[in-house]
Symmetry: C2
């Protein structure tokens, strides 16, 4: 009967009226006192429902002014799923494999933000033995000294890092580039073919751990982002 908590029922009722267009952006929602009376519950229960809606950006609450339905964002944000390559490949029902193309250890440049020494790796990721992603990666040996002894032919760098150095902060940059000669050769494309580049930087406790540039053939790959203000 009563599985759904009351605060979620209240939030859901309001959400439905917003989604259906019955309550348009700018519409002033009943006050907590009114909703408390309507549902016959304590004010804190209504308050929790409204706080949840507010946290999800569906409504805007201001003291004295009351609660109004939010306007859809001009600068909208959407959750984009940043794929782990291996799980991405396997999720498509293909066999994942990888080849380590290059590995050197060298001093880090100051602008790399990765400490004193880095290991520099080039990896080709394959799906059913066909090239899928060309990856260049730097790993900070200050942050992850164990990386110097790791066998990156057995485990790709991304997987190794996930297991050994979980990050606490990440930044991704998505851009379009033409494949340079080396990348084009690795992926079997024409020089200059449009590719999606995903750059990823991660930190652990403020210290730079790794930088990676992953290049996907443009024709074969999409990032999809969904945003639904009414569905979290």
């Amino acid at each position: 009967m009563d599985q759904e908590p009351l605060h979620r029922r209240i939030a859901g009722d309001i959400e439905r009226r917003i989604a259906s267009g019955e309550w348009r952006p700018g519409f002033r929602i009943p006050t907590e006192a009114e909703l408390t009376a309507e549902y016959g519950c304590a004010r804190m229960t209504v308050s929790r429902a409204m706080s949840d809606l507010s946290a999800r950006g569906l409504v805007v609450r201001r003291r004295r002014a009351g609660t109004v339905v939010a306007h859809p964002p001009v600068h909208s944000s959407a959750l984009v799923s940043i794929p782990g390559i291996q799980s991405e490949v396997e999720g498509r029902g293909l066999a994942y494999s990888h080849r380590l193309l290059g590995r050197i250890v060298r001093p880090a440049r100051a602008d790399e933000g990765l400490g004193e020494r880095v290991i520099e790796l080039e990896t080709l990721h394959l799906a059913d033995d066909l090239p899928f992603v060309f990856e260049r990666r730097l790993i900070s040996l200050s942050a992850a000294p164990e990386a110097e002894a790791a066998d990156f032919t057995a485990q790709p760098p991304g997987g190794w890092l996930l297991a050994h150095m979980p990050w606490t902060e990440a930044e991704h940059r998505i851009s379009a580039v033409g494949a340079d000669h080396e990348t084009a050769a690795g992926l079997g494309l024409a020089d200059g073919a449009p590719c999606l580049r995903l750059e990823r930087r991660t930190w652990r406790d403020g210290q730079g751990v790794t930088w990676a540039s992953q290049i996907f053939p443009g024709a074969a790959y999409d990032l999809v982002a969904r945003f639904s203000p009414t569905k979290g």
Copy 2:
């Protein structure tokens, strides 16, 4: 002194210990009862702090088992900011303008999911009078009949829609493409130059409203996504 609510101070304290690595993934956090004693407050206050952390994915809570620090996601998601072009341009301190290059009204194709008739628009967006984005857009005249009479030379289609048909659901697709001849001409690029394509579909209450394909010069544009499990 006491501006910060107690529940946020509690959440912040815990967050800091997770971010610093003091409490690693899997670590079992003190129970609500223990935290209640530690902070000398009511249990609901602690509960709210922990619920917030849980909603943000920093911790996982299970009855009887207690609350543990969450493992970082394998398949991570990040919030990517999807720009409104005008605000993007103005945010860079440049002057925004636009030119309507084409406009026709025609029957919709079934696979477009936009009702019976659509208006098809081609718009060039400029920053300081230099081409910045080439946009192709379809607007459903079933969902937005007023669009047929709108003056899209005065207001760009995106801005008009935001004002007249706020969406409730959106999907974005990010990919890399080579500029076709028309796009290249519009943006002043060589044919086939790598570009970032942002496709956007929006719905209002389940009904398709618009589809847009916005093409950014690859060299001039990045989408940035940040993810920080410790900072929301």
